[in-house]
């Protein structure tokens, strides 16, 4: 067993915000800068709220489904990247950009 190195690692909220915003943006198809994230305590777990626009193509799932996918991604992928146990996740889609796929 390796010897425990003195000191502790802490992750500031700013870093957590960036991670969750990027993960949610990936699912919503929006640029990471357009999505914002906030974290709060959720009975010892980390509660996350993300807010941003969704970009939907003709073959994309519905906005609600996109939101659900973003929520799952924040909980699993975001939690894994940040190394935290994520509790409640709220996703708010503030705008939608719909691409029909037609080329003029």
């Amino acid at each position: 067993m390796s010897e425990r190195i003195p000191g502790r690692v802490s992750v500031q909220t700013r870093a957590l915000h960036r991670v969750f915003a990027a993960v949610a943006a990936e699912q919503l198809g929006s640029p990471a800068t357009a999505v914002s994230a906030r974290v709060a305590d959720d009975a010892g777990r980390l509660g996350v709220t993300v807010e941003g626009p969704a970009a939907r193509r003709s073959d994309s799932p519905s906005l609600v489904r996109l939101g659900e996918l973003a929520r799952d991604a924040v909980s699993e992928k975001g939690g894994r990247i940040a190394g935290v146990v994520v509790g409640r996740v709220s996703v708010r889609i503030t705008d939608a950009a719909v691409h029909t796929g037609r080329v003029s």
Binding site: P6, R8, V9, S10, V11, Q12, T13, L16, V39, A40, D41, D42, A43, G44, R45, L46, G47, G79, A82, V84, V85, V86, G87
Partner: protein
């Protein structure tokens, strides 16, 4: 080899509050009372007016229930009760003796509590400000506020605190109880 009678007495002296202040106050008041009685006696002997009550009039003033006499008697009663309480209570200081075969080691409870908090904080990776310990004579209560998203195992913390306190071996023995707060602290 264990510490001897003299060392135990030394430890006892430091673990309990000194009564010297109470004794000094009581003796000073007694001396003032004696001086006053002396002055009244001399004034009565030379047939001069009394300062407060002449010794010959004292029994009559007491039975008549004069406010001054009753006030002095009431004050003396309260002081007496306070001194009896000070004499009979153990007057313990917030300190523990640490078991050692060669020396008398006394540790302030504040220091002991801070050491337990620091140990738990280091071992769990929680920020030092998120762990607090309240130490009484026979019990220590460790409260940990976890960092949100980093759940803690209460059983492990209990074991950590218990093992640490057991290693220090305070006298009297201290039982540990740990509590992991339901509310976490967001990324410190």
């Amino acid at each position: 080899m264990s510490i001897g009678r003299y060392e135990r007495m030394l430890a006892r002296r430091e673990l309990r509050r000194s009564r010297s202040v109470a004794v000094s106050v009581a003796l000073a008041l007694l001396a003032l009372g004696a001086v006053y009685v002396g002055i009244e006696g001399v004034l009565a002997a030379v047939q001069r007016p009394a300062l407060l009550v002449a010794p010959a009039d004292a029994p009559r003033a007491w039975s008549a229930g004069e406010p001054l006499v009753l006030g002095v008697a009431g004050g003396a009663l309260l002081l007496g009760v306070a001194l009896v309480i000070a004499a009979l209570t153990p007057g313990r200081r917030a300190r523990h003796r640490v078991q050692d075969e060669r020396s008398v080691i006394l540790v302030d409870d504040e220091v002991l509590a801070a050491a337990v908090s620091r140990h738990v904080s280091r071992a769990t990776g929680v920020a030092p400000g998120q762990v607090s310990t309240a130490l009484g004579r026979r019990a220590a209560e460790v409260t940990v506020h976890p960092t949100s998203g980093h759940p803690l195992d209460p059983v492990r913390i209990e074991e950590l605190a218990e093992a640490y306190v057991a290693a220090i071996h305070p006298v009297p023995a201290v039982r540990t109880r740990t509590r992991v707060s339901r509310r976490g602290v967001v990324a410190t």
